[in-house]
Symmetry: C2
Subunit: 149 residues, 2 copies
Amino acid sequence: MSFINEEMIRERVNEFIDRSKELGIKVTPQRIAIYKELASTDQHPSTETIYKKIKDYYPNISLTTVYRTLETFEKLGLISVVNVLYNAARYDANLTPHNHIVCIECKKVEDIYDESLSTLDVSDKTLGDYHIKGYSILLNGVCKDCRDS
Amino acid sequence: MSFINEEMIRERVNEFIDRSKELGIKVTPQRIAIYKELASTDQHPSTETIYKKIKDYYPNISLTTVYRTLETFEKLGLISVVNVLYNAARYDANLTPHNHIVCIECKKVEDIYDESLSTLDVSDKTLGDYHIKGYSILLNGVCKDCRDS
DNA sequence: GTCCTTGCAAAAGTTTTGCAAGGTG
DNA sequence: CACCTTGCAAAACTTTTGCAAGGAC
């Protein structure tokens, strides 16, 4: 299911290279290394984690490059960020069940009370190796303020 | 709908005070101020934002206190954190639709391919003031490794 | 050769920790 | 008055930015 073999990785990296050329960005060894590292795992690593792994065989790479490269890839849609709101912790005193919508640009968060999103029933189930405690649905889009400016 | 008036806030703060006593934590002016600030908005503020607001009328409060207090509240279930994975950006090269499960303790992220979670269809809709681009479902629980230790 | 990309260093921003003083129960 | 909580300072950690050198096309 989630097993990734050598051939799949090679294929993904080749697709990445083709796509980069289409998009007009330069294909550097650093970019290939970063993409390959991310394509080789289903662990959703942080920037630091990717950096450390690459450093083993590419000791000169800079952490700054990894940051900048991941941002570039994400903006071009080559990869995605699991947690849009990684900039700072956000709290909520409202404990009644509801979901959230995040503005991709200004990072504003608003509540959503929408019945079509309340149909999931996963609490207290077991999924894979996990005891599920809860879930959160984060919609994303662009808010009116950001569209207007 | 999402309008919060003075009376609701007072009520929430009183509940908070009662609950704090039940839980055996001390009710300090700082804690009341922090809880009240959070209960007075549906904006899901960051620690810094809460700090700045309180500082207007409580100039001696420390940012450290706000950090520590929010953590305390969260661990006791008095409030919740919107974004569990706020510690660092996490990336994913797998662009096929899937969801994620996060271990609350070690912050590990794994992929979920579960059909019962794939029934949401919100793309390209408009919800409130937003053009929806997509959504992510983040289940949370405790992984096997963390349960065992 | 042009211009995008990289690496270094420094800065900005977020969160955590140690410790003494202070306040709640 | 015991002990939890606070505030300050410092450190740890994550991310961003400026600039000159380097490399892809």
